[in-house]
Amino acid sequence: MDLILVTMIDGLVTGLLLFMLSSGLTLIFSMMGVLNFAHASFYMLGAYFAYQISRYIGFWPALFIAPVLVGLVGAAVERYGLRRVHKYGHVAELIFTFGLALLIEEVVQFVWGKGHVEYNAPESLQFALFSIADYEIAAYKIFMIAVAAAIFIALLLILTRTRVGMVIQAALTHPDTVEALGHNVPLVFMGVFGVGSALAGVAGVIAGPVLGTFPGMAVVLGSIVFVTIVVGGLGSLWGALVASLLIGWLTTFAASYNIGMADLLGALGIEPPADLSESLLRDIWTLSLPQVGPILPYLLMVLVLVFRPYGLFGNRDA
């Protein structure tokens, strides 16, 4: 029972981290129709910027400065890169963002080296806040939850309660009409791209100390973010949240319980073959849940695409 509760908290942390990445990506995709392959690279940039800044003036200023820098980089990429490529169609845009991801990875390796960098949580958060039975919950985890929750509430309020939010929502579906009403739609695009990148940057700043800050960190998280927005429904903030939490809990619970495939199939009344070494399906019988955990989100994506192609909360046909 204790372990379930602890795993719920761990899964929540993973899920909210995913949400910070997917919320920006889903907004960018639904507005510009660009599948931004470089999104996870902005997450990586956030971690590295924060590492560099924190070496001089500490973690707390870095928490605010690094995302702003990443946001500026993102806005510049939209203004001087994507906007120019846009007229050549979606394929060109795709290739542009793909190349950008490779470029950012190389630049990071060039500047900070190929190994891990020493980026740690601030001293003031390096203690166990409370423990459930024998399981300690680090204060930093609770801090991550708080930051992610604050961002979600702020985003929701901005998108639904402010004038800017309404313009963005209108520009999502009817950019021409919005432009005809006198709004500067390219500026809105640039803003959304910048803010989306900054959100990924925040995720990098707070995840870097926990998941490690190294040149491969974007690749590790990159594909799962796409899965999240497809499952949640393109362009839906609620969808991104629900899908992120779902995937966070799914992977965390799968890794936490050593249930073998043989147990699962046994429960379904299927008996293992007498001689496993001869059986063609022996690999399936010897698998355990933690081993298949990482592919479960992709399985979920396939199921969602089959039964609800526009995602759990999506409101238009993908």
Binding site: L3, T7, V117, N120, Y135
Partner: protein
Amino acid sequence: MRSFMRQAAFAAFAGLAAGAATAADNVRIAFIDPLSGPFASTGTNGLHQFEFAAEKLVNEKGGVLGGRKFEIVPFDNKISPKESLIQLQVAIDQGIRYIVQGNSSGVANALTEAIEKHNKRNPDKRVLFLNYSAVDPALTNDKCNFWHFRFDANADIKMDALTDVIKQNDAIKKVYVIGQDYSFGKAVAAAAQRFLAEKRPDIEIVGNELHPIGKVKDFTPYARKIIASGADAVITGNWGADMLGLGKAIIEAGFKGPIYTYYAAADGITAAFGESGKGILRLVSEGQLNPPPSDRVVEYARAFKEKYPDGNLSQTRIANVIEMLARAIEQAGSAEDVVAVGKALEGMEHDSLWGGKLFMRPQDHQLIQDVHILVHTNEGVTFDFDNSGYGLVVESTVKMASMDAPTTCKMKRP
């Protein structure tokens, strides 16, 4: 245009001739390891250590055979076995007689097989394979051959030494074994089970699992399971990002016992663990930097740091490779007759730069040496890693580890 072509051709020819001239003087050693891609930092750091060792231990002392210098020739294999075989062929075509490689047992397996075939077919162009890091036990057992020499302690020897230390620690009653889901992770888990059952049957292995390699984003669930199992110690063969992620998660979850590892040091990992891993992380490895065993080590390590301020002297065995090869060449009286050099290496006893004896076991060409359990700390560290102030200090030593361990090697000698 034509005259330009002629000049270019002449220049190229002259260059070739010059190359051939230096080749006759120098003893060239082909370094085949990743110099680009995700493992480039490990490979490049190894190359620097080889170049430094050749310069410091051989060339500055006047070379071998009355003045011939060691020259390290780098080849980038991108850590792919296929690419390694191409580079091996290039090296052989250039007339190189000595191949050194270390990263990945998969590559080492491919190389040792190819070299055995090559030597059989080309008795006048034979080469030796000096493996400085690939620790798959098979290389000195079922797959052994006369041309392969391993200078690192293999995975079984390391586990043997590690369990010797665990045996003496009565506080350890429960052990959790976790590793990456591939051949090396499985070999570590199997060896841990075997040796623990032999030496401490009272120890309970409360967990033995493999996780997908390079795919786990957050190791917290694994850490929770380790805490839940009540383990007193953790054994893992993880490396790279998987090592750092697992170690950090376990420590953060409140684990206080020792985490025994193979590769939790250098390449940024020492710096990234920093204070959090102090006194918890242990490493089983050969070679001693802290406390420095001799003035020679101090001088050697200082000079290395001066030349490569960002480098780590993380593979101490590289100095052993160079010193023993130089001695073997002197003994054989020739650098081209690799059979004589191989026979000189076989059974060679050598005083290591890092203290202790080295013995190249003739039955299987596995170097027998002192294996240390090192602890990650910032106290008593003369030479740190990653310029972090943290480094590895020798905690206990198993002298001439696995000296009498059996081998399945049936070596055919030329």
